[in-house]
């Protein structure tokens, strides 16, 4: 039933008058609530301390990204992608770019692919650090967030060194990287990979064996594997319940099949398991980055210039007429990929981020759909919230690790 008395008409679970004497307490959490990772509003129906019904209300950060996608040329949309999940921007870019390349049939050169993998794994670390910090802060451990944000700064420095921006990186381009890799970057990343395991150990010391942390997370928000699958959860939420699905392993893209890494699976599907899974994922990402650093060819093309959909190399534009003309058309009209539709999924830090693009041959995509993992994972919140305590809601929001940008798009 739709409750029109509220300022914004909200579809409600039927609010029941329990017994004549006991009215349910309906609590509005958000949208500006400090622990709701952006602008998520939750309408909680409480029975004393226990949550009876939990209705997340989203849409406060909806900017109509997909609609915009249908009115921008393919290359112009890239900056939008890193504003959906503003905590892990490069992965978003990567997802979109790979989808377009698949549409156009382009293959980025090997060196670019390696660097894309490194950047993707670094964004996973950055995103997990944000997750760990806020998650611990919500449950009350103040200091952990300080440590995690300190370490995240290092990653952001790398990003800044690589593409000039810390948060909205916009680093991936269709066909590879147009700019050269800064020479001191590999050393910075290698140095980071040496430091980071010690930092992870610091977090584990603070939380993993902490009795209060265990009390607040163990047995809270249990999702059975079949329920997780039915909810369509992906990423750490799914793997927390023991279901083995990682896009990098299931549908390997870039060069993930050349690197050796494990996919951690939880055994109980509660908040604590997802915490352990994500911590283990961070360690695995470090392993991936180190292997990539070893395997990446130190020199070689970064951009698939040979393809007609790719922007011509900068130095040729000024010198050769043909490139300059192609560059002009590419910039003004944009390239028009072949007719058809494509769906490409990427293992984003929150889960499976998928781009579905329908092209009608024109430079502007006919339809652009972003399958954002946060939006899907959020759906499991009401299920987990059933019978949970009020204080658990905060832990549950933390454990599904949502960023409202990618939820609302």
């Amino acid at each position: 039933m739709i409750d029109f008395s509220q300022s914004t008409p909200v579809i409600l679970s039927e609010v029941r008058q329990l017994t004549p004497t006991r009215r349910e307490l309906v609590l509005n959490m958000g949208p500006q609530h400090p622990s709701t990772h952006g602008v998520l509003r939750i309408r909680l129906t409480l029975e004393g301390e226990t949550v009876i019904a939990c209705d997340p209300v989203i849409g406060y950060l909806h900017r109509g990204v997909e609609k915009l996608g249908e009115s921008h040329r393919y290359a112009q949309f890239v900056p939008w992608t890193d504003r959906t999940d503003y905590v892990a921007a490069p992965s978003n870019n990567l997802g979109y770019v790979l989808a377009v390349e698949k549409l156009c049939g382009i293959q980025a050169p090997e060196r670019a692919q390696y660097w894309r993998m490194i950047m993707a794994e670094l964004t996973r670390l950055a995103s997990h650090l944000v997750w760990l910090g806020t998650h611990a802060l919500d449950i009350g451990a103040l200091s952990v967030s300080l440590y995690t944000f300190r370490d995240r700064e290092l990653i952001l420095d790398i990003f800044e060194k690589f593409c000039g921006a810390r948060l909205t990186t916009n680093m991936m381009e269709i066909g590879g990287f147009s700019r050269e890799i800064p020479p001191e970057l590999p050393e910075m990343v290698r140095e980071f990979c040496r430091y980071f395991p010690k930092a992870i150990q610091q977090y584990e010391d603070l939380l993993t064996e902490n009795p209060i942390w265990l009390a607040r997370t163990k047995g809270v928000g249990i999702i059975e594997p079949d329920v997780a699958i039915n909810y369509g959860l992906t990423g750490a939420c799914l793997r927390g319940s023991g279901v083995n699905y990682d896009v990098r392993k299931a549908m390997p893209y870039l060069l993930y099949d050349r690197v050796e890494f494990d996919v951690p699976l939880g055994t109980h599907g509660d908040v604590y398991d997802r915490y352990l899974v994500r911590i283990e994922e961070m360690r695995q990402s470090i392993r991936i980055i180190e292997q990539c650093l070893e395997q990446v060819p130190t020199d070689g093309p970064l951009m698939a210039y040979e393809s007609q959909y790719v922007i011509p190399p900068h130095k040729n534009v000024m010198t050769t007429a043909e490139d300059m003309q192609r560059h002009f058309i590419w910039v003004i009209k944009g390239f028009s990929p072949p007719k058809g539709e494509v769906y490409h999924a990427v293992e984003h830090s929150k889960g499976e981020l998928g781009y579905y693009i329908v092209s009608d041959g024109s430079p502007i995509p006919y339809r652009l759909r972003i399958r954002s993992p946060d939006f899907v994972n959020l759906q499991s919140l009401p299920y987990m919230a059933q019978g949970a305590m009020l204080a658990d809601i905060v832990a549950l929001i933390g454990t599904i690790d949502i960023v409202l940008g990618s939820v609302d798009r």
Partner: protein, 102 residues
Amino acid sequence: MTELSATHFLLLSAALFIIGMVGVLTRRNILVIFMCIELMLNAVNVSLIGFAWELHQLTGQVFALFVIAIAAAEAVVGLGIVMALTRRADTVDIDELRQLRE
């Protein structure tokens, strides 16, 4: 009226007791009636202490202690009943709780 004697205590006790009684008789909110009963019990304590003071005996104080203990027990159970009652009848007005009559 110069030296502090049990009479002062007894007068105070009487005053408090009467106020409590009037409260119980006139008020309609169960909880206020409940408080007035506590007031009456307290008045009794005052008189006990008064006598203990005047007769230099501790028995008054000992009894006062027991009265407090029992008043606490009574309060706990009384409030339990009030909770159970209002959960069913959804009213605090003593006059509406007349089911026992039928």
